[in-house]
Amino acid sequence: MGNLISAANFAKVAQYADLFKQGMAVTIMLSLLTVLFGFFLALLLAVMRLSHLCPFGFLGLTKDGHLREQGFLFHLSRFNPVSFIATVYVEVFRATPMLVQLWLVYFLLFDKSVIDLPKVTILGFIRLERFIPGVVALALNSGAYLSEIIRAGIQSIDGGQTEAARSLGLTQGQNMRYVVLPQAIKNTLPAIANEFVTIIKESAITYTIGVQDIMSAVNATKGALYIIIEPLLVATLMYFCLTFPTSKIIAYFERRMSRGDKR
């Protein structure tokens, strides 16, 4: 038996350096796009969950115009279908494995041509018909998690802000857009950036649907060279080099931001 880890094997892996470099680029782009789309999905979900749309609200009034306090009609008048849908979405995506979601999205929506993606390769190594399903699945999942962060951010904004805005005549939507969300998002930016770090790591599973990320480079080298430990160590180092400095930079800005608040 040879050594468990050998320099010669690393030299062999080095022949596939381009594959790893491309994998790194794919991982970064995949994560950035995921957080971008996930963020907008999360905004939508958070606002849906905190909305006050009650289509049966009129059932909560008695004939003489008093508010009901209990009973079936009281509960029906409080029912908010928009919030309900968002809640179900978030709970389902948080309660099931990401791998299952990824495969479901890929095989259900894209593989059987429900949504036909062009077989286009951009930059010479990004195969869109694999990359896009990867982004979609990751963003659907990330949106569920981020929406909880944003929801907490919105709820942490003092109710007096909304009262002031509404008393000035702003609608609920305008209040969200101009008063609450700008403050809530600023407060949650570090958490959103941390989600980016999480996605860099979690995106490794997308190689299972053929996305050519860092893990896919590991897989390809393993197939060609019949070695696994050295390519894995290279991948480990690459992921670490992506996530560690990023977290440190986020922590730095987080400290600076909280200092600014105490001015």
């Binding site: 009129f58 009034l61 003489d64 115009g65 008093h66 508010l67 306090e69 209990q70 003092d158 007096g160 802000q161 009262e163 002031a164 805005a165 509404r166 008393s167 000035l168 005549g169 702003l170 609608t171 305008q174 101009y178 008063v179 700008p182 403050q183 600023k186 001015r263």
Partner: protein, 259 residues
């Protein structure tokens, strides 16, 4: 009965919490006339804030009615002054009622100028330049023209509250509601805020003021309401309320606050 210059008629207003276990407002009936400076006093938890917040529907009343400018704003649809049935737009009515809070509630992510122009621009669709010009005139009135570019965090409490008042004034409300506007201020800043309010009163602004400043109530108010346990126990002129109180609870309350 509604008189000719009556602005708001509140009838049997009720606000219950926890299925009626807490009666924050238990049937309040009051008339607010144009030009009134109505001061609301009463012990803590008596429902003063709830009353004020119900007036512009920040709290949805459990029962009763609030007729503002001839329209019952507590109902989704109501008859207007001419007897036509109209859909009640709460946001529209809120524009006509300015509100000033104990904790100022300025928007911390915006400059003073942006705080003032947000509603005129977004709600009234006023051109930005015009809104800013108007804001500067108002800021000048309260001596804060040179702080237009500052952020709320850079102002003192008294300055913040003065901004909050002119921010509400920028929407040209028909009535201003004040909920303990000086209670969160250091004592040396109370005067500067009360002065702005006095000036407003002298200009004829209709005001409803919840306050513990009995001096202000006597000097500036033309009517005083005394609330306890969600009920209106006594109302009258400052002279009637402070010099000839009838209700026992009021006498007791005054003996504690007028040292």
């Amino acid at each position: 009965m509604a008189t000719r210059d009556s602005l708001i008629q509140v009838t049997d207003l009720k606000k219950y919490y926890n299925r009626g276990a807490i009666k924050a407002l238990d049937g309040i009936t009051a008339d607010i006339n144009r030009g009134d400076v109505m001061v609301v006093i009463g012990p803590s938890g008596s429902g003063k804030s709830t009353f004020l917040r119900s007036l512009n529907l920040l709290e949805k009343p459990t029962g009763g009615s609030i007729v503002f400018d001839g329209v019952d704003i507590t109902k989704p649809k109501a008859k207007n002054a001419e007897g036509k049935v109209v859909r009640v737009n709460v946001d529209e009515h809120r524009q006509k009622m300015g509100m000033v809070f104990q904790h100022f509630n300025l928007f911390p992510h915006m400059t003073i100028l942006d705080n003032m122009t947000l509603a005129p621009i977004k709600v009234r669709h006023m051109p930005k330049a015009q809104a800013e010009e108007k804001a500067m005139v108002l800021l000048d009135r309260v001596g804060l023209k040179d702080r237009a570019g500052a952020y709320p965090i850079q102002l003192s409490g008294g300055q913040k509250q003065r901004v909050a008042i002119v921010r509400a004034l920028e929407m040209e409300p028909e009535v201003m509601l004040f909920d303990e506007p000086t209670s969160a201020l250091d004592p040396e800043m109370v005067g500067e805020v009360l002065d702005v309010m006095k000036e407003l009163a002298h200009e004829g602004m209709t005001m409803v003021v919840v306050t513990h400043e009995m001096g202000f109530a006597r000097e500036v108010g033309n009517r005083v309401l005394f609330m306890a346990d969600g009920r209106l126990l006594e109302q009258g002129t400052p002279d009637e309320i402070f010099n000839h109180p009838q209700n026992e609870r009021l006498q007791d309350f005054l003996s504690k606050v007028l040292v």
